[in-house]
Amino acid sequence: MATVIGIWIAAFLTLAIFSFLYGDNPVYKAVEHLYIGVSAAFWFLYLWSFTVYPNLVVGIRQHGWLGKDLLLIPTVLGLLMLFRLVPRYGWWSRYPMAFAIGLGAGLAITGVLQGLLFPQLQATILNPLTSVNNFLLVLGVLTSLLYFYFSREHTGVMGWIARIGIYFIMVAFGATFGYTVMARVSLLIGRVGFLLSDWLHLM
């Protein structure tokens, strides 16, 4: 019974969202607000169950506030974050923000160097003369990188390099666009399939 009710609710919600194709309307707006409310609560519960409860609540129960991991500190920092909602004492929230941003900055340097910059550079260090693909790969990386170099005017040789770079970038944008369209179309097929098979049993 719960499954049947669920399918009818899901079908109504699907059709209500699709009603936006006709134009903005109250049914779509209502369902849009429902989506925001439900997803906010769901992700809050998810965060509680998989982050706060196992790390903070269980941690405090096992080791205490000042035991392993000094959980009193993130709790105080977290509570200071709530001062963001009180304009008069809002400046207290700068401490947890400064903590998060400082940590993020430290992690960005080591993480980006190790996880992004060095592997990408390493993969690009190829002999461009061994194959056409290698040549295009090296040429594409260098020219698209130089396209974003704005300290020198894009004229003369630099203009030509930037022009080749933008050609590579356009191919990449086109490919990304094609991929995104296909991903959205497969979602659409999924929803139409749900309406025709699970709800109407026509398939």
């Binding site: 399918i7 609710i9 899901a10 969202i17 194709l21 109250p26 607000h33 429902l34 925001i36 409310g37 439900v38 906010a40 609560a41 769901f42 809050f44 519960l45 169950s49 790390n55 903070l56 500190i73 993130p74 977290g78 709530l82 909602l85 700068r94 401490y95 947890p96 400064a98 903590f99 941003i101 400082g102 940590l103 900055a105 430290g106 960005a108 340097i109 080591t110 980006v112 160097l113 992004l116 990408q120 295009l136 790969l137 594409g140 990386v141 698209s144 770079g165 050609y167 590579f168 191919v171 990449a172 086109g174 490919a175 666009f177 094609g178 369209v181 296909m182 959205r184 179309v185 929803r191």
Partner: protein
Amino acid sequence: MKRTGPFVLSVVIGLWILVAFFVKPLRGAQQTLLLWYTIVGAFALVVGLINLIQSHLRNLQRGQNVPYSLILLFGFFGTLAVGIYAFFQGNAFDPYSPLMWVYGYVLAPLQSTMFSLLAFFLASAAFRAFRIRNMEALLLLLAAVIVMLGRIPWTEHTFAGITEWIMAIPNLAAQRGIQIGVALGAIGMALRILFGLERPYLR
């Protein structure tokens, strides 16, 4: 207290993470800081949720968009109540729990239908954007069309090879160039934060 404290905290934490990357005995403290980061991040979500609820309660008080705000609050507190009930019953994220029923028949259909709508808007955007005015637009169009044809069952066998080549060579080259640029930019921004030239947490 209001400005110097957060600045010092941000610099000390950032440098600690940076130094811990090279000094092995400090790695344990680095793990603790990362744990704190996730806990503080969870409190930041709570700030966002309280803000959302406050904003819609204010709408109710002022009589603006009352039905929509009521629906949002109903969705939020309804899902929260179901989640808390499921939490005390056992595992709230068990596939057969009431919370996962809400996920399966309310949240998932809303989410996937909302994203599938983009297929229509992408099609209309493509109609406007894909006018071949110059070489860049031609390359964008060709790459997008070929990649899409390479993902359709009818034309997959003809276009699969060239799609793979576009993804593996020109697309990869440009994406790599962009990623290297992003990595350099992220490192630059992180250094600015660590040196105190950028203080976004003071806003």
